[in-house]
């Protein structure tokens, strides 16, 4: 039987496909780009949601992984376009403009960063964890600003979008297809993860740490693994986002970005698998609609977020689908 929530999930995923297809047939590339942006931001949210929704880890530093993914794209592509080798040893590597390789590098680097940041931050909990993830994110932000070799504060532009074998990535609808397929794969993976032995233990550690220890499992290891997976997915989203804009800058690493990724998760409904999809789509919609009315549209976003937090914990999906078992 299909619950209201899963019906809504399918509807959202379908809408995210149909809108850009319709825009394509009407020759409205801007709308396709908006949909691509929504899909990529949703992907970043899906990553955060594994730590936040499933693991209960309130990370305010996920911009670090988003930005690392972005810089992985920027640096590889910049070296490739300028024909300057990235390194000569142990083998010659000239950078790359091939998306699959860029994604791999983005995922590996952001996973490594998440491993280090997580190993340090997860020694603490509660407010400390929030502040420390925030601080480490900010550390990378300042590092990027001072790193003049790759543009420093001004960021790094690339001239041509990177390539994917067999596709023309400069065609908005084809690039959208890439982002959309990756988002669907990530959602599928997140769903499997939530139902897996690991997911069961991770979400149990969020609910009752003593219980998990008493059955002989170590919450720290579970959380660290979740943090790494979460960071890797958000890093992949960062690489795609930078490719979408053909630009990466320290802004991707700033804590506002961390806050925004968290907003995608919350607007949709925390702990809900498809929450980030709803949240990111709503965010893009608001940015586009309200941004057209007022330059100060983020006031409205702030008020909306405040109202949701104070009065509607379930977020958008919660409001439509009602209170439902969020896990398991």
């Amino acid at each position: 039987m299909m619950t209201r929530e899963s019906l809504l999930n399918w509807a959202m995923i379908a809408a995210l496909l149909i809108v850009p297809l319709a825009a394509w047939s009407l020759d409205e590339p801007f709308i396709i780009t908006l949909a691509t942006k929504a899909a990529i931001l949703a992907l970043a949210g899906v990553g955060l949601n594994i730590a936040l929704g499933l693991g209960g880890l309130i990370s305010l530093g996920h911009a670090a992984f988003f930005g690392i993914g972005g810089y992985a794209m920027g640096i590889l592509a910049a070296h490739a376009q300028n024909y300057e080798p990235l390194f000569n040893w142990p083998f010659l590597f000239e950078g790359s403009n091939q998306m699959p390789l860029i994604w791999l590098v983005a995922v590996v680097l952001s996973a490594l960063a998440a491993l280090v940041i997580g190993a340090l931050s997860l020694r603490t909990s509660g407010v400390y964890f929030i502040m420390i993830t925030l601080a480490f994110g900010q550390m990378l932000y300042y590092f990027a600003i001072s790193w003049s070799a790759y543009g420093g504060e001004d960021g790094l532009s690339i001239w041509v979008r990177n390539e994917f074998p067999g596709l023309n990535t400069l065609d908005p609808i084809q690039f959208f297809a890439i982002a959309y397929v990756i988002l669907c794969l990530a959602l599928f993976f997140a769903a499997r993860l939530a139902a897996s032995p690991f997911g069961l233990a991770l979400a149990a550690a969020r609910q009752n740490e003593d219980r998990v220890e008493a059955v002989g499992l170590t919450p720290f290891k579970l959380r660290l693994a979740a943090f790494v997976i979460s960071g890797a997915i958000t890093g992949l989203a960062g690489a795609l986002f930078a490719d979408l804009n053909r630009f990466v800058s320290p802004t991707m690493l700033s804590w506002h970005t961390s806050g925004e990724i968290m907003i995608f998760v919350i607007l949709g409904g925390v702990g809900r698998l498809y929450g980030p999809v709803a949240g990111a789509a709503l965010y893009i919609l608001l940015e586009h609609l309200l941004g057209g009315i007022s330059d100060y549209w983020q006031i409205f976003l702030g008020v909306l977020l405040l109202l949701i937090v104070l009065f509607a914990r379930g977020g958008l999906i919660g409001a439509i689908a009602g209170r439902e078992k969020a896990h398991g």
Partner: protein, 251 residues
């Protein structure tokens, strides 16, 4: 004499000026139920936490299955076969009853870093979980949300999760608390049979249960064990009557 499964030697633990454990030595042998009783504030919880691995003693040692585990944490001790139930139910409240039991079975099996298979369709884990629920009489409640259970049912589930670990010994902190006469009677019967499977260190306030079940009883007062013996010996012990039972009668 039966094999000693758990032994504490001269455990001392202070919080500032308060001596919560002073020179506590006790053991738990195969096949027995050893009850630990004492008035509120006697240091039972502190002792339990040192045995389970939450607290490190200031001095003294804890031995599990003949091995010194004083330096090991709760997780390592659980893996060695220490099955614990908590005074205040420690369960994943959003989960169903079955999910909590499967969590226990998963812990017992130890292969948690699997990311794709559906854990609730794993026949081996489900068998262990359902068996444990069956034994404590919660089979019918398997699909209910744990948060919706009655207090007594949560106590039963605590025991069931401990069972899924197939432990070498049980450490039970007030399993009867809040059960009511009927439930407490049923659990007493169950624990009676369980001791053959693995010995039980039982902290309990329900004196009827304690005197009905325990092979041996230790009395903890102000952090010290003032007496250890059979139910009859404890009943007859003048110091215990003065320090503890008398106090209860007066209350």
């Amino acid at each position: 004499m039966a094999e000693v499964v758990l032994r504490t030697e001269n455990l001392c633990k202070s919080f500032g000026a308060l001596k919560a454990s002073s020179d506590v030595s006790l053991d738990l042998r195969a096949g027995e139920i050893h009850a630990l009783i004492g008035p509120n504030g006697a240091g039972k919880s502190t002792l339990i936490k040192q045995i389970a691995g939450n607290f490190r003693p200031d001095s003294g040692r804890v031995e599990l299955l003949g091995r010194d585990v004083t330096a090991l944490d709760t997780v390592a001790r659980a893996r060695m076969g220490l099955g614990r139930t908590f005074q205040i139910s420690a369960l994943a409240m959003e989960y169903t009853v079955l999910q909590n039991a499967v969590l226990g079975a998963l812990g017992g099996q130890g292969r948690v870093f699997r990311f794709f298979r559906n854990v609730m369709k794993d026949p081996a884990l489900l068998a262990v979980a359902r068996d444990a629920l069956e034994r404590v009489g919660l089979a019918d409640a398997a699909d209910r949300r744990t948060a919706d259970l009655s207090h007594g049912q949560r106590r039963q589930l605590e025991v069931a999760v401990a069972l899924t670990l197939k432990p070498k010994l049980f450490l039970m902190d007030e399993p009867m608390a809040g059960l009511g006469a009927d439930g407490s009677h049923r659990l007493t019967g169950f624990l009676d049979g369980l001791r053959q499977e693995a010995p039980i260190l039982l902290v309990e306030h329900d004196m009827d249960a304690v005197f009905a079940l325990a092979d041996r009883i230790s009395v903890l007062v102000y952090g010290q064990i003032i007496a250890t013996g059979t139910a009859a010996e404890i009943r007859a012990n003048a110091e215990v009557r003065r320090a503890y039972l008398g106090e209860e009668d007066a209350a």
